[in-house]
Symmetry: C2
């Protein structure tokens, strides 16, 4: 299995997918591929606009995605894909549409068979067992919170330490602590902006200029640097 | 129908329910009531602790809640209650437990029959048609996102304008904009901390020292002061 799970598309002041660009390029290789793009996390902009934004970046390294909303037979498009890319946006609407279209099963089968998978934000979240560590608003109800289950741990994308001063709402750390009480047998990985996880078969590594914050119920929360061993997450 | 829907229990530096205290006291009246408390939004502390925290405040104005987790027959406790109080915490776990125990229907019936209802944070959110405008992490999956539907609009509790600098995640306003695209026929009310909505039959009013931010798809977002007309929200 080959996965590139990116925290976010861009932080303020960065170009779209700018930071992840060289990693995506290297992950996909030099040969132009038939890449299927899943745009369904988009809510406040069109799928056409989303595809164009992604292609503006992908064309800089000689690749091109085709958004699945153009496909007459979406499942067939997945079956023929050389690589699958799932973009960020709202996780709930992404999962709902993929469930309705039968894409969860179709994509899962291909990726387990070795087709490279790239996701960012919501697209990384759905690589986990469930959507339960998303930051998104539940604007629609998916049939189930179960998603791809490519990795046995949960990612919290856009992980951040900051909390608005004087605000009484939960911090991100408190939210994850709640998740862990309700789900004591899962690892949660706080993937800070600008960071990504790469899985190649049984190998897993983190890239980025920040540390990874790793949570588990009843264990001390730890910060892991790029290059530190992450194999325990896959067990 | 009588509802007191409070944004939050406390902002940093305030005592628990301190700001809402006089409004809760006035809403319940002087006679000591049989008040049932729903503690199921608690995740990282016990129901006993939650009940105690609430009673510390309620005792200051001569009232006392009994948490439903002590009841042998929870539905009977609701049937006998003079008032119902639903505390904040995690909305998803609150809704899941209420659905499993049959409390959604039992409480709804009583409140539609005139029993006063007080909620804060998650407890205000569940007074709406759905939980879809919660800020909470979906740590467990409820059977349905449908909740009490006492009011026909959605509340976003803990509404805030601030956004961590340099962070690429969605602002609260962007999250609500996404909700509105997916649900164009609903009003959303951004209820800032320290504010509350009071419904008495066909009357609705806002109390607090901040303005209410009111959203609807295709309409200009407005800020309403305490005392301004809110009847359109109930239509």
């Amino acid at each position: 299995m080959r996965l590139l799970l990116i925290s976010n598309s861009a932080s303020p002041g960065e170009g779209y997918l700018e930071k992840a660009s060289e990693h995506i390029c290297e992950f996909l290789g030099n040969r132009p591929l038939n890449i299927v793009f899943i745009p369904f996390a988009a809510v406040t902009y069109t799928y056409d606009e989303y595809e164009e934004k992604v292609n503006k970046r992908f064309s800089s390294f000689g690749q091109r995605v085709v958004s699945i909303h153009r496909a007459q037979r979406p499942i067939d498009a997945v079956t023929r894909a050389d690589a699958i890319v799932v973009g960020g946006g709202n996780t709930f609407i992404l999962v709902k549409k993929m469930q309705e279209m039968g894409l969860l099963e179709a994509i899962r089968e291909r990726v387990l068979g070795g087709v490279p998978y790239i996701g960012w934000s919501a697209g990384s979240n759905v690589a986990c067992p469930t959507l339960c560590t998303t930051n998104d608003m539940p604007i629609v109800q998916p049939r189930s919170f179960d998603v791809f289950n490519f990795v046995p741990f949960q990612i919290n994308p856009h992980y951040l330490d900051a909390h608005p001063e004087g605000h009484g709402g939960e911090t991100r750390e408190q939210r994850i602590a709640e998740y862990l009480v309700a789900n004591p047998n899962r690892w949660v990985v706080g993937l800070r902006e600008g960071c990504m996880l790469k899985v190649e078969g049984t190998q897993i590594s983190m890239q980025g200029d920040k540390t990874l914050r790793v949570f588990r119920h009843g264990k001390e929360t730890v910060e892991l640097k790029p290059g530190q061993d992450l194999h325990f997450l896959l067990q």
